[in-house]
Amino acid sequence: MTYPSIQAAPSAGDAIDRHARGPLLTAIGLAIVWLVLSGIFSLIAAIQLHSPAFLASCEFLTHGRVRALAETAFVYGWAGGAGIAATVWVLGRLGGNPLRGMNWFGAGSAFWNLGIVAGLVGIATGDMTSFSFLQLPRYVQPLLVFASASMGISGLLAWSGRRRDGTFASHWYGVAGLVLFPWALTAAQISLLWAPMRGVLQAVGAAWYVDALTFLWLAPLMLALAYYLLPKLDEKTLPSYEAAPLSFWLLIVAGTWGAGRHLIGGPVPAWIPTMAVVGFSLLAYHFSVVGLNLRGVLWAKGPAGGALKFGIVAYLTFGLVAFVGCFRSVALRTQFTHFASASEQLFLYGAVSMTLFAGIYFLFPKLSGRSWASPSLVSGHLTGVKIGIALSIITLALAGLTQGAMLLNSKVGFGEIAASTRTYLLVNTAAQFVLLASNLLLLVNFWRSALSCCGAASNAEGSAS
């Protein structure tokens, strides 16, 4: 196995991780289950894009509902669940003390996952809210606010009770992700669902939430992990680190200004899309600094290093694509097409998930005290997801550009558009299948590896109590 630092300091990490082992591994394991489940829904949705009749006569699986199911299971179940768990672990490691408040984390994680189960059942039976990334029915949303806040408590305690006075970039990003999400979800659900604003203002609020989820939650969680992992993997200090604080604050301040890029040409005040250009101009500094700080990742080795490299490159590419997409002349060709899904995939799968995979492959041996049951499943999973993600993003982007160009010509009907994008969408279906199969390998490997450690974990908990 190629985990350099696992033998380097096994004892210190072991003591810190022991209390956290059960709750964190359970949370990550459940997140992987959501990832696989979301893959099944994504596959159905991908098939429906080129064969609309597929399963549509089943009321629970109309295209709209399947997409909402896939998105919700992915964003909240997988990315959120695994992201929060990994961040709490990182903050615990940086704090240098055993994690405190793990009961809060365990209870929060249990309610988080129950909330998602209830939410998915609600979406399938017709209670979805129709706001993208906020499809969870109204009645489970308060539960998710409390559950996510409760999971974050351990991380905050580790940060405030750290041994060293100074803080690292991982601290800032991690704490920001943990505390801003419950607030953003509260603000969004009050203004959209409990006391809804009128008319198109809902679209503005929903667009803001999409960017809050992206830049105030998932991006910080991912960067907390990336800034922690890279120095551990290549054992070097980060270059240009003095620029990191400003880059962090720009992300937090200007991250959500880009909300208007989802509304270009729409029935909203014109300053909202314009503000997206301003916001992304500021974010250009953030993305550049992340690139400068983490450029060492290009030479990173091992499974975790390879996954992290993919994640960081995808994050920077996403920044560029989103920035370019703020301009009206570009939006004219990409808006309302599969290109938007490609850009979404680039962030959610390419950037966030690949970084989380890197994190899981790095932290599992330390957290569980066991190595992965099968190294070949590790490389099989990572090779599979890299191929699947790249293929899916490229084909969706090409399908979107084709669709966008044809939509501009009013003589071209939807039948012709469907015929010309069909090949791309078929390849996308294949890519979704590869992704699902690869993630199953991760699930099997995680399960097999964790099974051998569960006994040890419960023994440790038993002796602790």
Binding site: S130, P245, V253, G266, M275, A418
Partner: protein
């Protein structure tokens, strides 16, 4: 950033200021938007949707129709929306003031529906829409769960679909749209944005034309 409370305060302030600017700012601008009263016609626009149509919007939302259909017509010089016959003018915020849950949508795998009931030369008939929902097409999935196939008791229902060929039910049976299907179609045909609000008139070319008229 060593000071914990100050750091947390900074985090919240940054995020709250951005939220206030974007969400509360636009709320301040448009939150008080009222329907437009046309003195010439003696009525205000947009009209409040009928009860059936308002319920139909919930069906539209819960089936997730917005994942393939938008409801926002863009300006004539921005995209081909007008040339496709989706609407003569762009959608404006006032079009949506009475909508409980506006379905602007973000994907056009199918046509825009913002002005579906106001299509020219004439709006689709409710039979045509119900037929599409029941039978589907090469591009549109069929939703048979919105219909009920039942034995004809006495006279045939006046709502029964007129079907022929393979789609027709066995003799003695009829296919009747459920209440959800009826509200959905009522909603779709209620969507129209024909009225020209002052803010919907083109901005660029208007001054020269008006000067010419004067």
């Amino acid at each position: 950033m060593k000071n914990g409370p100050l750091f947390l305060l900074g985090l919240f302030l940054s995020a709250v200021v951005a939220w206030s600017a974007i969400v509360l700012g636009s709320h301040g601008q448009l939150g008080g938007l009222t329907p437009w009263f046309d003195e010439g016609e003696g009525s205000s626009f947009p009209a409040r949707p009928t009860g059936l149509a308002a319920r139909g919007q919930l069906v539209y939302a819960d089936l997730g129709c917005a994942s393939c259909h938008t409801q926002q017509v863009r300006r004539p010089d921005f995209g081909s929306d007008k040339d496709r016959g989706w609407g003569d003018r762009q959608s404006v915020a006032r079009d949506y003031v009475f909508q409980i849950r506006p379905q602007l949508g973000a994907s056009r795998s199918g046509p825009d529906l913002a002005n579906f009931g106001g299509r020219k030369p004439q709006a689709p008939s409710s039979e045509a829409v119900l037929n599409l929902l029941y039978n589907g097409s090469a591009l549109h999935p069929a939703y048979p769960f919105l219909f009920e196939t039942r034995a004809i008791a006495g006279e045939q229902s006046r709502h029964a679909l007129k079907l022929s060929g393979g789609a027709a039910p066995a003799s003695g049976f009829e296919v009747v749209p459920s209440e959800r299907a009826q509200t959905l179609v009522a909603y779709l045909l209620n969507l129209h944005s024909a009225y020209d609000y002052p803010e919907a008139k083109p901005l660029v070319k208007a001054p020269s034309k008006q000067e010419g008229k004067k």
